[in-house]
Amino acid sequence: MAADQPSYWEKMKQHGYSRRDFLKFCTYISAFMGLEASGIPRVVMAMQTTPRQPVIWFHFQECTCCSESFIRSSHPIVADIILDKISLDYTETLQAAAGHQAHEALQATMKNHYGNYIMCVEGSVPTGNDGVYCCIGGRTALDIVREAAEGAKAIIAWGSCASNGCVQSANPNPTGATPIHEIIRGKPIVRVPGCPPIGEVMAGVIVHVLTFDRIPQLDGAGRPKAFYSKRVHDSCYRRPFYDAGLFVESFDDENARKGYCLYKVGCRGPVTYNACGIMRWNNGTSYPIQSGHPCIGCSEDEFWDNGPFYNHLASFPGFGIESNADKIGLTVGAATVAGVTAHAVYTNVRKRRLINQEKLAQEKQGQPDTGNTES
């Protein structure tokens, strides 16, 4: 990267943003990245000095929902930053050039910024039949991704396709669709699952890399902790209804109109790690549960094969956590806590009884088997 390129702050100034706007932006981004207030000056410093980061963005077996989500990133200045602060040198969805001119742009970045570009991948890579199920410019996705990964500083696997294979890898995975981390070894890979991921999460991941010149802290599954460390269930605003054993029994019933918990109509919130409940979608407007539909668990590995979506989960780790919490409450033993805890234990027992009854009823009615989707 040329040293004389303007920094983020310089570019923002040129675009008429005030210092105040800039600091507001840095604070916003810091909050997004889950930083303490003490971390803000570092963000400010980084944004003042960092030039534009070359980025290559591939599209393989995908539906482009990740790109669409990315451009929905809500804060106005975030959208500007993404256009102006990274150098998006190859992206089939938005770039002006086509055909060989597009390939030349790609080749130039891989050569001129070897070891320094970020490679973003949207889509899985088909490995079946020597990769003929996805070809670009007469080459297989498999060939292209291997070549480009060599000079990449870091790899971001956008969405469930690149992170876990998503819909095309669902049983029986006819094309051998494979996530990126199973193809590329020895490179830092950030997995950002979701179908698609929330736009602000995508922007947040990019800005983290730009700001600190390193990838964000990841969990055991390679996902940024800042956005994927909590279950949707844990942050769900309908959680009190769950705890009280108040459930939607069928869509559009009285309970649905009161916004009760969607667990019994199939909600995957208890087994899904994502920030939907906290950040919500489209600038905090809503999220699936808020708009009346159960979470389908789109950020979890193999979620397509964990259906049918509208059959409720037979059991999930959450029960354990909740009963542990109850036990902890009981051992504390304080009189004031005891009353609350007794209630919680009672509602959990009642809830489990309700759920078990429902399960038996479903079995009698002959609903399709859970999870068995073989053709």
Partner: protein, 571 residues
Amino acid sequence: MARIVVDPVTRIEGHLRVEAEVNNGKVTDAYSSGTMVRGLEIILQGRDPRDAWAFCERACGVCTTVHALASVRSVENALAITIPPNAELIRNLMFCAQYVHDHVVHFYHLHALDWVDVVSALQADPDEAYKIAKSLSPWPKNSAQYFKSVQDRVKNFVTSGQLGIFANGYWGHSAYKLPPEVNLIAVAHYLDALEWQKEIVKIHAILGGKNPHPNYLVGGVPCAINTEDANALNAERLAYVGSLIKMGIEFVEQVYIPDLLAVAGFYGEWFGIGGGLTNYLSYGDLPTNGYGDPDRFKFPRGVVLDRNLNEIHEVKGDDPDQIREYVTHSWYRYAGGNDGSLHPWEGETEFNYTGPQPPYEHLNVEDKYSWLKTPRWKDKPMEVGPLARLVVGYAAGNQDIRDVVNDTLQRLNAPASVLFSTLGRTAARGLETQLVAHWMQEFYGSLIQNIKNGDSRTANTEKWNPSTWPTEARGVGLTEAPRGALAHWIRIKDRKIENYQLVVPTTWNGSPRDANGGLSSYESALVGTPMANVDQPLEMLRTIHSFDPCIACAVHLHDPEGKHLNRITVT
């Protein structure tokens, strides 16, 4: 003769490759190939039909919601489920929001760079740009300072040496005709549209929980109505939708339509290029009296043959003699032989790749050359999309459509025949956006009125439980994606999906030849396209992008002796 290969075709969704023969500066033959496949139809077998919408919606993250709509309708059709009026209205609102969003994004972010020379905007006089903009539209954001700031921004891009998405564009190409000031206005609105598009989709977030990929439900819609609860569609949520609709209409009328007309004014010759096929198919949509009454759809259903606007032919999704798919030139195998065709209820999806082993330089276009199948209506190729919807609507005598088309033709002082062209297709997209934006407001009004009248139903769950279903059932769900006629066919057996087939707009428009050698829309429309510079396929992109493809492709060039002029560098 030169063979031009464009791969990837960019600024589209998916992977499309075009190979074209060029003679004396014109395209004389073209082959369109989809180079990626995922096998959704295979994956859907054996699953719960109520889940199908979620799988199918992932067919496209750009036109996102419409696949879910076709899917839930196919299941409802199979199980004879009628959805409540509010659910129909909410689905219509989501449909309309999708159109308004998608068409604006297409015009500015996927199509505009075919007509707008970004680099030329540097030469513009911002004061002059403002004068022009003011004469076109009352859009309050337009001002000399504003255009100046955008120009500075472009200058930064160009001088930084990092051109990003504008790298290697066809800047300075002789086919660019706009004055610098109009280029500057268009670039400014490219950025505005990027800001605007993330707002209008909030209609999906409110009604379907998120965008892209909002949620659907067999039997209705998942969002519940309760004016007395914070957790449901109440006055606040509805007012939010209302204000977004208003914002949508403003942008379409004050920015998109004026820009479209301004750009079109400089490219008049493109009203005579790229017409292609003469047959148009529309399934119609936007029911005003329930999905079961297509005569009262906002977009009429039907087929127009040979551009004859005086006759309209009936379209039936369940008639085995009407819609059928070929795989003669597609990488699939039919059990009964590759030259036959199948109705989607009997459709087969078995991969059979017989193309060249990658890396390859060109496809064997005499044989199979695409992952797209080839659908035909009564064995005829059809164009689908905004132009087809307007043509069918016009022929069906739809007053809204007739008014907007006649008014535009009058303003252009041109006969109806100009619509059958590359620019006609692009203009049709704009006109229908304007129509749909206003229809959205009508549906919104009807929804409010229904709620006021005490109807809060949003789902019919009588047949939710699979034990109520017959052992065998089959259905078809028709809709109109922004890109054209979209339908899903389902066969259900023992409460599971036995067979599922999607026939999508780009399959109609972008498919390879049929068994009789008949060309589809892209191939047909490309024939006759002028090429000022075979190394820079700008004009081909104009025609291809006028269809708003939903797949991906590439181009490399051969010189008149058939040698490569340009090869993709393989390192």
